[in-house]
């Protein structure tokens, strides 16, 4: 039976060692996690879409953002512009424009959206999720869209 003080010291030392090991490898685990976790694209910027002159009212233009996001840019009959994501907010399928019904339709779960992106039926309507829209700007006769720029390479 060792003297109580020595036993206390060796126990405290063992505890400190174990705690340091756990802390050390834990830190490494956190570092590994941060390395693997993709960095979000936080930088946004204005990208060129088309020149206003050749963009006739009533037509649409597909646009792919640097992050891979698919966007439909449309010129309304009144001459204004709008840009909607064509990714259904429910589960990420691509919506299509149905001209006869004047609506966007998601083939995965029959979600429907009004021409301005508001959900009108199906799961997105129940959850109150509309198609995200993007800011547009006209400068010197050219149309620009504001989107997220590409995430950092390597950990994208």
């Amino acid at each position: 039976m060792p003297p109580p003080r020595r036993s206390f010291l060796s126990r405290a030392l063992a505890l400190a060692m174990t705690a340091s090991l756990v802390a050390g490898y834990g830190t490494f685990g956190w570092i590994a996690g941060r390395f693997l976790l993709p960095t979000r694209a936080t930088r946004r910027g204005w990208l060129f879409v088309a020149d206003v002159e050749s963009f006739r009212p009533g037509t649409t233009l597909p646009f792919v953002a640097p992050t891979g996001e698919r966007i439909v840019v449309a010129r309304r009959d009144d001459g204004g512009f709008m840009a909607l994501s064509s990714t259904c907010p429910h589960l990420g399928c691509q919506v299509t424009w149905q001209a006869a019904e004047r609506r966007f339709f998601c083939p995965c779960h029959n979600g429907t959206f009004a021409p301005d992106g508001r959900a009108t039926g199906g799961p997105p309507f129940e959850a109150g999720q509309s198609l995200p829209s993007y800011p547009l700007r006209v400068a010197s006769g050219l149309l620009y869209i504001e989107v997220a720029l590409a995430a950092a390479a390597g950990s994208a």
Binding site: L21, G24, I31, A32, R34, F35, L36, L37, T39, A152, A153, G154, S155
Partner: protein, 349 residues
């Protein structure tokens, strides 16, 4: 807790007493000194290499157009990428050093002698795998050194009689450095060599267990009974302590001397001063001393002699019992290795 233990005991038919006997081999007393534990050091560093290597592989792209850029992104953009890459590189450096020191220790203590000749051979295999992993590893970065090192090495292997041309074609995936070369190096570095090394390390350790650790007897121990201590927990704690010190050393090295990015490989211009990694200085200087063919053949002969040394030594000792020839051979070898390395390190060409 009790039910969980019962669950596993019923499904893993292991006898705790036998398991304890298997894992708890007696360790000779001289292993209380850390410098006799240099075999565990490369094993520990190997685990570090595997963990950091897997992480780095998530960000690496093995094509000539993207390789350098992806390593740069790992180093400069990814969270903690510089730290992981520096850990990987420093662990590699320490691992080569530890493997060489371990081999020297085994050589000078005569631990390779009968019946342990086969384990020396496995160790030689591990040495060659370690050096090849080092070479393929720095080829992946696609710096100037990576490109020209790989080109020179491949053209050198072309000089090996009979199989040289085939070896070069196999290594480069073509007659010269091409867009498939990097993925070859990547597969060798990230799959073939590590898997081979895991198998060889398992064999290495199994043979140590089967033979028992060679006991060292010093002059002051003469007449006393052999002393042993338990593997578990005594020796395991020693190894853990060494592991802890290694991790601290690695973290300090990686933080104070992080690995930089060299200039991107340029197939159109060879740099003025081009040298391989330090652990190839010996071979590099040797190659400059002789004609290409003579240097290659002598290098091959030296490696073959190293591998066959336990048998050569056994033959010598049978004819002249008590001969210390191996000590002199060892001293000459160490002086030559250190001399050639320093020589290459201090001159430009």
């Amino acid at each position: 807790m009790g039910r969980l233990a019962t669950f596993f005991r019923q499904r893993l038919p292991l006898d705790p007493a036998r398991l304890r006997e298997l894992t708890n081999e007696p360790v000779p007393h001289h292993l209380k000194h850390w410098w006799f534990c240099l075999g565990g050091t490369p094993a520990y560093l190997f685990v570090v290499m595997i963990v950091t290597g897997i992480l780095l592989a998530f960000g690496y792209e093995a094509t000539p157009t993207r390789a350098w850029e992806s390593v740069r992104a790992i180093t400069e953009q990814a969270a903690f990428g510089w730290f992981l890459r520096s850990l990987h590189r420093w662990a590699a450096t320490l691992m080569v050093a530890a493997v060489v020191l371990h081999q020297m220790r085994v050589f000078f203590t005569g631990a390779y002698r009968r019946p342990r000749e086969l384990n020396w051979l496995i160790g030689m295999g591990l040495l060659i795998c370690t050096l090849m992993a080092g070479f393929t590893g720095y080829s992946l970065v696609y710096e100037q050194l990576s490109y020209w090192g790989a080109t020179v090495a491949a053209n050198l292997s072309d000089g090996i009689p009979w199989i040289g041309g085939l070896l070069r074609t196999f290594l480069l995936g073509g007659d010269g450095y091409n867009e498939r070369t990097l993925s070859r190096f990547f597969v060798l570095h990230g799959a073939v060599l590590p898997v081979t090394m895991v198998a060889l390390i398992a064999l290495h350790v199994t043979l140590i267990r089967l033979h028992g650790i060679a006991e060292m007897r010093f002059r002051r121990d003469e007449g006393s009974a052999p002393r042993f201590f338990d593997f578990f927990p005594d020796h395991l704690l020693t190894e853990l302590l060494i592991g802890l010190v290694l991790m601290i050393v690695l973290c300090v090295l990686a933080s104070v001397f992080p690995v930089p990015m060299g200039p991107r490989a340029d197939p159109l211009s060879t740099p003025e001063v081009i040298k391989p990694e330090w652990f190839f200085y010996v071979a590099f200087r040797w190659l400059k001393l002789w004609s290409e063919r003579a240097a290659l053949l002598s290098l091959g002969a030296i490696v073959a002699l190293m591998a066959a040394w336990p048998f050569v030594d056994g033959w010598i000792r049978r004819r002249r019992p008590g001969s210390e020839a191996s000590v002199f051979v060892g001293i000459v070898a160490v002086v030559a290795i250190v001399g050639l390395t320093v020589w290459e390190a201090v001159v430009a060409h």
